[in-house]
Subunit: 335 residues, 2 copies
Amino acid sequence: MIPTIRDVAREANVSIATVSRVLNGLTGYSDKTKQKVIKTIEDMGYHPNAIARYLNNRRTQTIGVMFPAVTNEFSSAVLQGIEEYALERGYSVLVCNTAVDGNRTMKYLQVLRERQIDGIIFASEVLKHEYKQMLDTMQVPIVLVSSKNEDPKVPFVKVDDRQASYDAVRYLIDKGHKDIAMIAGTPEDPIAGIPRLQGYKDALYDNGIPFRSSRVAYGDFHYDSGQAAMETLLEQERGVTAVFAASDEMAVGAMNAAMQLGIRVPEDLSVIGYDNIRLSRMIYPALTTVGQPLLQLGRDAVDKVITMIETGKIVPSLIVPHEIVERQTVKDLRT
Amino acid sequence: MIPTIRDVAREANVSIATVSRVLNGLTGYSDKTKQKVIKTIEDMGYHPNAIARYLNNRRTQTIGVMFPAVTNEFSSAVLQGIEEYALERGYSVLVCNTAVDGNRTMKYLQVLRERQIDGIIFASEVLKHEYKQMLDTMQVPIVLVSSKNEDPKVPFVKVDDRQASYDAVRYLIDKGHKDIAMIAGTPEDPIAGIPRLQGYKDALYDNGIPFRSSRVAYGDFHYDSGQAAMETLLEQERGVTAVFAASDEMAVGAMNAAMQLGIRVPEDLSVIGYDNIRLSRMIYPALTTVGQPLLQLGRDAVDKVITMIETGKIVPSLIVPHEIVERQTVKDLRT
DNA sequence: CTGAAAGCGCTTACAG
DNA sequence: CTGAAAGCGCTTACAG
């Protein structure tokens, strides 16, 4: 049988209250008692039961993390950041793969509620009305990563998508490109769709380059859609020298489509992506892209949610810096 | 305040025992009582506390999953399979990123023990003696995925690495290749290192091709090491027409190294990988590789661990089938 | 410095 | 069909 605190108390000839005290480093026992208790604990191989402890202090030290998919590098890097920092802070992580499915998400929220998690992190997920309603009744702190939200009670951690996109296009312009197409994300996506397209438009506008809707093709951020979008672009547009894709996967899909048609990157066509996932440096030529501090994004989200859990106060949102990671897919046209 | 079973009982004018019964679908109440209780539960927005329930039935319905790293596609695909199937079976998953660090792993095992998880899945991890000792005292079922182990009490789920490797090399031979190099994994690795190298040797031997140790370079399964290994191979060997890499990441690294030296794949050099992660079809040309059913591997592991949890019996290990996924990186020399 | 006791939110014999 | 009570493994006032 696995020993309980009661067994230790009996064996050490003290009360369970005393064992509990030395276990939790409280005061109120002689050094002699302490030594005796510690020795007994070791001898018996006793380990406290975190579940029983929870019943008293109402903290499970568990965070639920909702992901639309774990099988992409973006999510898994953020997850790693979350997981690492949570461990440092003494919290555990319950992963929930929503598969962008509302029912599944609701089911998970139900599970998280019953398991009495202390807080929730939503990664790359839009907080639907349906979720918020449920969340409201759960009375648990929520933080969004790489997503945003109007309600100040739900802080978020993300880069400035419009600005990052603006900077990417600006980078192409600085390299002498004027005929720039974009492979945008889902048109309705309020996080990575609309703002990134807006950044593209703004950068063109600020540099006196007219916007042409035929130079924009839409994908869903995944590989296949990037390939398809590139094909569409190639059919309807001539003279494009550079493409900005709203995700690295789409950028790589686009490169692939181009290369299959004998178009060389970057000699014939420059490409810049968005995310800086590992894939971007594993392909040939290595992809120039917009870098987001993915691990840090995860760590910051954990920090915020734990602060909310432990202080009960709302914390402010955070915009983390992005950067242009220069590699080999953008040709300098000015030379 | 969040209502408890006691509040529901009071409101519905029944005992908590009765509420508990209808909650758990047991027998022993009239339909009228049932309706009254259900209505009260809904009106009050009551949700059972899974933690409190655990204290009675000793099941947390939680599985701990140990990963050497979540940031690679192999792990995240397996994790997805685990997570999906665990949800279906009513279990939650606690992710633990060991970072191949013994201390970290021990710390995690400690956490899992205190949290009273019902079972553990080790993914791609060798069960060190140190871990086993601790695990023994935990008295919890353990299953390995993509790893193996002599102890019958710890079943595993994996492909036959030697055979899969044999088949990959055999595939190259069937395409007319004779000068085949290998980028092997860590030499001491008993799972993915030794057996895959052995498969290579066996396939050469069975086809009358002499083995040359200078045609083997070693990596650590990751991208960079594949690149480095390819460079080594290219320096010390001439006449190689094909390379078999023990992981897709290394295969892609190798392709990259070759392409940077102007060597074309597959025209000048054929490459075959191992894993069939998404990356393998996102590069150009798309990588021919050995496919493992990653999601299924995860699901099978969950199935085994839950069976062990619920029946208390040991289950047999499982060898899952592999396949050669033909894409564009192997040239047929016979034509 | 130490212990007896109540209580956290449930489940489960047991009795009626 | 229903309820009172014990108990799961802890923590925490309270009393001494």
